[in-house]
Symmetry: C2
């Protein structure tokens, strides 16, 4: 079995974007209190949006199940206020739930959170509980920078986030560290902001005792861990210079990397320096890069091919990367699997 | 000959920091106009600060010459205003000039710029000219985020920077893209802010026609190019999806990476995916990581060892990386070499 731990609903029917556009337009009208409104999308539209995209790709590439969440670039936590974010998150999460209900063998849900810059993350607890307890979701995407590129909220290691972490631990679900669109012109969203956030979060974890406070809290750092594996020596060295424990001991019980790295040499490096126990297969399809690499004739984001091409990877480690670690990190997935 | 293109004067006599502390303290006193003041450091203090540090390391590791600039973390462009930055840059650059005068075979200067958030980079032209024309410097460090981690100035590809680029082209000197300390608690300076800035700048270059406007402008992206080589497939794919030319054509006449990557697998990746013509040897000693890697028994930042260990690197490419490319990018170095 192959589990892709990182897929977003980037192909949702256009009604979703229309809802969002109307929601944003309504923000300009100060006279009216915002209302949630509703989304009218039929099941056949959902089917159509997936059949020739994520589902076709699953079949073609031989992956079985995608851990699926709303479009990351669409979360837009910097837009409006906490109420805007709440309505939008509920709409997006409900849509993911419909996908998972229509295709229970192909998708399992991870939720967007109603974060808002300057608002305590406690405000996300209700939606997390609803998604996990009522919709059967197995994790969430946590945005370390709800401002969208100005980084005005406290680091992930600040007590600011602790009540939310308590709930993650209680529900036994991990968070993927994932920013949304950038409204800062310095940062291209998929080319800089995403990768920077991954790198930033990892370095925050190095400097803190977060995992002493939450020994079972788990984070997945997407996009192959940002710059981290490439600079693994730098991170080991920085931790050592600061008198921190070795990285393995300090955070590798709690921090995991996905395989969204779109060329063979990058995947080779990842598998060489990061223990196989800490790597989860992912491709982020349909995602940031959609073309075919002229150097290989294959899709850039067909990350399974790269892993398949690495002949020194043991069968045991391959199993861990393709599904074992996902079951370990997304513990509610394992529970659900056992039940079915 | 081996040229290290990235060294900072991190071991300067403590009088330098005392000067800076006094300068910062004086900012609180609104009654007095700031004065430049002076720095009293003797030649023997400078010698002492280098003999058992950068010079010892050059001898031990077999490198010959370091392209040397003021401490990057100390630039602190977010502190005070443009006048603060001007005085501080002049003091720091003059000190680098003294180092280069005392040890002309070991160091050649690159300058700090008197940048200040929200101030047009034109204000750096006079100091750049002074350093290049009067002090014999061969490049500068350009900070893409003078705010120190809030990224409030325009991207490097904005016309905001163009008058400064015109001067770089006229003087025929490259800029290393290098941020300073982060005053944003989200970003550890050497572990996140530096690496993020490298990644960010590269992605800015992909999305613009900067090098059509300035075909001879040259940038060195330090720290092995941030996350870029690790995600080379992502960047090739993003450019392709956006209808941009292949990266080689789009920017590899103008953008170069140094080798400040502190483990063998990272250096292997860099040399595998980035053309040898675009890689300049560097170690950033005495810099971000000062310890010995227990896995190898060698200093993390002894990057020459990693390159020496790569047996598939051709002699020709090795020469390019160790000195040929530095002479090509820092064209005033070549001119100076010819003269001596």
């Amino acid at each position: 079995m192959i589990i892709d731990c990182h897929g977003h609903y980037t192909t949702a029917p256009k009604e979703l974007q229309k809802y969002r556009d109307a929601q944003i337009a309504a923000l300009k009208d100060a006279k009216h209190a915002p209302s949630k409104g509703a989304l009218a999308i039929r099941d056949d539209q959902i089917r159509e949006s997936l059949e020739n995209a994520q589902l076709r790709i699953q079949r073609e590439r031989g992956t079985d199940l995608t851990i699926f969440s709303p479009r990351a670039g669409g979360m837009g936590h910097h837009v409006g206020n906490a109420t805007t974010s709440r309505y939008w998150s509920e709409i997006c999460n409900d849509l993911i739930h419909r996908v998972c209900t229509l295709y229970p063998d192909n998708f399992i849900g991870v939720c967007q959170l109603p974060q808002s810059p300057g608002v305590r993350p406690d405000n996300c607890i209700a939606e997390l509980e609803r998604c996990v307890n009522e919709l059967g979701f197995i994790g969430c995407n946590l945005n370390p920078d709800p401002s969208g590129g100005y980084w005005t909220d406290p680091p992930l290691t600040d007590k600011w986030w602790y009540p939310f972490y308590e709930k993650l631990v209680e529900l036994d679900v991990p968070a993927m560290v994932h920013v949304s669109a950038s409204c800062n012109p310095n940062f291209h969203h998929t080319g800089a902001h995403y990768i920077n956030a991954d790198t930033t979060a990892f370095m925050q974890f190095i400097t803190s005792d977060l995992f002493k406070d939450f020994p079972t809290l788990k984070f997945v750092i997407p996009h192959g861990g940002g710059a981290v594996p490439y600079h693994w020596g730098r991170y080991r060295g920085l931790a050592q210079d600061m008198g921190r424990p070795p990285l393995k001991e300090l955070l590798l019980n709690n921090v995991f990397f996905d395989t969204c790295v779109y060329h063979l040499p990058g995947i080779e490096l990842l598998l060489k320096v990061i223990p196989a126990d800490n790597i989860l297969f992912a491709s982020e399809v349909v995602g940031a890069v959609r073309g075919i690499d002229p150097e290989t004739g294959c899709y850039y984001d067909d990350t399974k091919r790269y892993i398949d091409a690495i002949d020194w990877l043991s069968a045991e480690d391959r199993e861990k990367i393709f599904h074992g670690n996902a079951r370990k990190v997304y513990r509610r997935f394992a529970a659900r699997g056992a039940k079915r």
